[in-house]
Subunit: 304 residues, 2 copies
């Protein structure tokens, strides 16, 4: 099935205790699309970059068979740039700079050839823009949506409107608590189910991920890595693996949502093993399947 | 198999957002012994209380078939008292007071009838005292040990000596990192395996627990409770369920250690559902088995 991905395309400069990357390919749409490209087909991307966006970036995305008709290039503008530094505790990072550039006035235009996309993944852009995207897509089978504290604080009403159009909300634990205004995470997730989505996926970083629907609660741990090189994009790689797997299998049952959470976790685990999108550049089906099985073993125990 | 439990016996005064308990039965030895009493037999306890320790406390422990020959009662002394207040985020608590009283000079004496105990669980007392206990026990099959930051900071060398006599170390994530002086939790656990223990169990509170041996890594989530009444003692209830299950089954294989982690998680989940030891007062085998199965479902997914 087809997957439409809308979000930021960026050039990231990243410092972690294990190294440095400069103007590396990044942004939520890139991570989601690249991770999703291992499963869904075609993958269609909507985003905006400036004339400074490197040709190798375009080539790489094309090489992953990602349709870039919806990638707007503003020749006389500059690409969105983000700089961040991670602490020894990789859960803590300082944003060194955010240069929105052409992303500041991002106005997603969905090309006619994208309008029948069956699976849609909306990055954490303004909820008004998320709705605008959905108005341009015809009856998608599944809408997966992300958001962030910035919008929860500033555009709560608009976010609630987006949630009513969303099937699966993917957020981190802090965002889930903020949306529901509830500190207990399970209650918060169930409260969000009453706002529209039929499933909530809560990303908990090194503590794994949680899936809550009306009838199930499902946990998957994070992959036990000894070295995390760069946590940037892990959440978006998760979303891409998740929605990509659903698009590939075209099965939106609770049981398959569980498997999708595992595939999301697998893609996130590969993502953090290298800088930028390095860990997602050339995965084989065998590597992915092996890691899915490792995830199964991680929390499997035989009967008492 | 027999289980020997050594640690604090206390009267706790606890404030949580959902209520208040005054001079309630507490202390690590109490939680471990009570949780362990659902599996191991006999359970033997070594601790110290003052003349003010309530008769109902003694009766309750006897009612759980816990052997109290090793519970020293200092008639003219006062029992260890702790007061704490939990925030809305139950991961944060303020200690309001700590009155060590008779526990300050705790000098564990193992009665002769306890010396052949097969399973031993040492609470987070001074590592010198932990060693003293082990000198009084004859070749136990399994020594499970807890510790805390206070000892890691002040008696690191003595703690290392205790670790060489320990089969399973149970600590929280912060303690594991501090012992190994390593921020990556998986690496920290593996480093600790080189200090003596053949298994490390890391308790991560609401994020579940992690078991690491030379050959496996195993995760279990925390039970998804909508209301946590009182987190006090959850870690000790975990240890009691864990070591109690091992004593009952007398199987120290990696596969059985996994199951023991699940039983520990189950007892911890019952513990936090009521104040003090209320949640551990009268569990049935059916309740425990049902929750073990719920834990299995929580992270089980069918093949892709």
């Amino acid at each position: 099935m087809s997957l439409l991905v809308v979000g930021s395309v960026a050039l990231d400069t990243i410092d972690t205790p294990l190294g440095h990357a400069e103007d590396a390919l990044g942004g939520s749409a890139v991570y989601v699309a690249v991770a999703g490209s291992y499963f869904a087909s075609p993958v269609r991307m909507v985003g905006v970059v400036g004339g400074d966006f490197p040709a190798e970036g375009i080539e790489f995305l094309r090489g992953r068979s990602i349709d870039l008709e919806g990638l707007e290039i503003i020749r006389d503008g500059k690409t969105f740039r983000w700089g961040g530094r991670y602490h020894t505790d990789l859960n803590v990072r300082d944003t060194l700079y955010t240069q929105l550039n052409v992303f500041e006035n991002f106005d997603p235009k969905i090309p006619p050839s994208y309008r029948h996309s069956e699976y849609v993944c909306l990055g954490n852009i303004d909820p008004v823009l998320q709705q605008k995207v959905l108005q341009q897509v015809e009856a998608p089978k599944l809408v997966v949506c992300d958001t962030m504290n910035f919008w929860i604080e500033r555009k709560y009403k608009e976010l609630l409107r987006t949630l009513r159009l969303t099937h699966v909300l993917i957020v981190n634990d802090e965002e889930a608590r903020a949306i529901a205004r509830e500190s207990n995470l399970i209650k918060a997730a169930r409260d969000i189910l009453n706002m529209g989505p039929r499933a909530v996926v809560v990303k908990k970083g090194e503590h794994g991920a949680l899936l809550v629907t009306k009838t199930i609660v499902f946990y998957t741990p994070a992959y036990p890595l000894q070295e995390v090189y760069d946590p940037t994009g892990a959440g978006d790689a998760f979303a891409g693996g998740f929605v990509g797997y659903l698009a590939k299998t075209d099965d939106r049952s609770d049981e398959n949502l569980k498997r999708a959470v595992v595939y999301g976790s697998v893609l996130a685990s590969f993502c953090v093993e290298e800088f930028s999108i390095g860990g997602l550049k050339a995965l084989t089906e065998g590597q992915v399947t092996k890691r899915v099985n490792e995830f199964r073993d991680l929390s499997h125990f035989d009967g008492s």
